[in-house]
Symmetry: C2
Subunit: 202 residues, 2 copies
DNA sequence: TTTTGATTTGACCAGTTGGTCAAAGCGACG
DNA sequence: CGTCGCTTTGACCAACTGGTCAAATCAAAA
């Protein structure tokens, strides 16, 4: 196991390669479906060499989840209480949809974890995620009270943004199967824009 | 292996027990995460006995998917071209949401399959599901042309119904973690009703 | 060049997995 | 009761899994 101080150039490179390969495999197969061998070969390392950088399969998985979590929640974090309400919310939707298009693996990684009952990040959800959502829900409630957007249940509004946008990443295969030739991300932005505009315009 | 003709009372009972146990396990763990041992013990049979009724783990999984598929698509099938458009669509939403509440395991079973790239029901999606959706999309397009609902992209409308309703089954843990005490299915029906009413009212 | 620590590997291990098989048990019908 | 086909099981297996370890190799500072 490499020491904790000042990672080598090689350490950085190999850790990055492992994380990327792990994202590929875990997001496609879930935790139990993924194998260390597959991650190792995809990252160009032997299995013992991979386990020289990460203590265990679970350690890789946890490192991945942790690394992606902040990135994943950033758009919600950026929701500005002092901004124009509809503009803020539509911007949030747009950014989440872009993330589904540009980072579908990250989306599916979380999807797997949560569908299985969030056995490894459950506590984080009930603590950090809940706190963040509650905070933003309060902002939305304020906007509603001020008559700046139409009245809706704030929490469910956020759920609907998550589900509508992440659907295009998590269920990509289904969406494309049903659409045939058409690119999902051609019409989706306008559709969601329209949906939330009609929902939220007072 | 039991013969194909006229299943015994015992065959019926055991097959049913296996299917139910398999639904429990597959929906929680996905295909690769599930083990035959777990399904066997949950259904009260020994592993060799289970494999006397189903040729393989995959055979159980496929039988499950096939059995649930019709049930799963029934609500969309029932969308009546001759009904009142908004009423039909809101009814579809309501029924899908009830299914998420009453049959979350079935929802998660499909979710697992599709997130992993639908390796086993991909063809069914591109053929049967696509055909059904295209048919109903045409109905919706007709309603829009007649000015009976507001203009929206029909396919994406259907995607949004799927994602919004199934989210409450597939991501149940997250939803409950964020909501805390509150029951998701208390406010969800009204929320979705409002959302689609505002979206679709001309 | 030598040394020292970082890096890599082949061989190996114990536990789990899906699946097999011959033999034993059971139930209904004559 | 006896028989015959359905049902159940214990013992077993080969492949795979996550993980270990001692030894070999490599890189860079001295």
């Amino acid at each position: 196991m490499p020491k904790d101080r000042t990672p080598t150039r090689i350490q950085k490179k190999n850790r990055a390669a492992i994380m990327d390969a792990a994202l590929e495999v875990f997001s496609a197969q879930g935790f139990r479906g993924a194998t260390v061998d597959e991650i190792a070969s995809l990252s160009g390392l032997s299995k013992p060499n991979l386990l020289y950088y990460f203590a265990s399969k679970e350690a890789i998985y946890l490192a991945l989840l942790e690394r992606q979590l902040d990135t994943w929640l950033a758009p919600l974090h950026d929701l500005d209480p002092d901004g124009e309400p509809l503009e803020q919310l539509l911007g949030y939707v747009r950014r989440k949809l872009e993330m589904s298009r540009d980072f579908p693996r990250e989306s599916r990684l979380f999807a797997h974890e949560i569908i299985q009952g969030a056995p490894r990040i459950g506590p984080v959800l009930s603590r950090d995620l809940k706190a963040l959502v509650d905070e933003k829900a309060a902002v939305i409630r304020g906007w509603i009270a001020a008559g700046r957007i139409a009245p809706v249940h704030p929490h469910h509004l956020i759920f609907s943004i998550w589900s509508l946008t992440q659907h295009y990443a998590d269920f990509d295969v289904q969406v494309r199967a049903v659409l045939g030739q058409e690119d999902p991300f051609e019409a989706a932005p306008d559709y969601l824009d329209t949906l939330f505009t009609r929902l939220l315009t007072p």
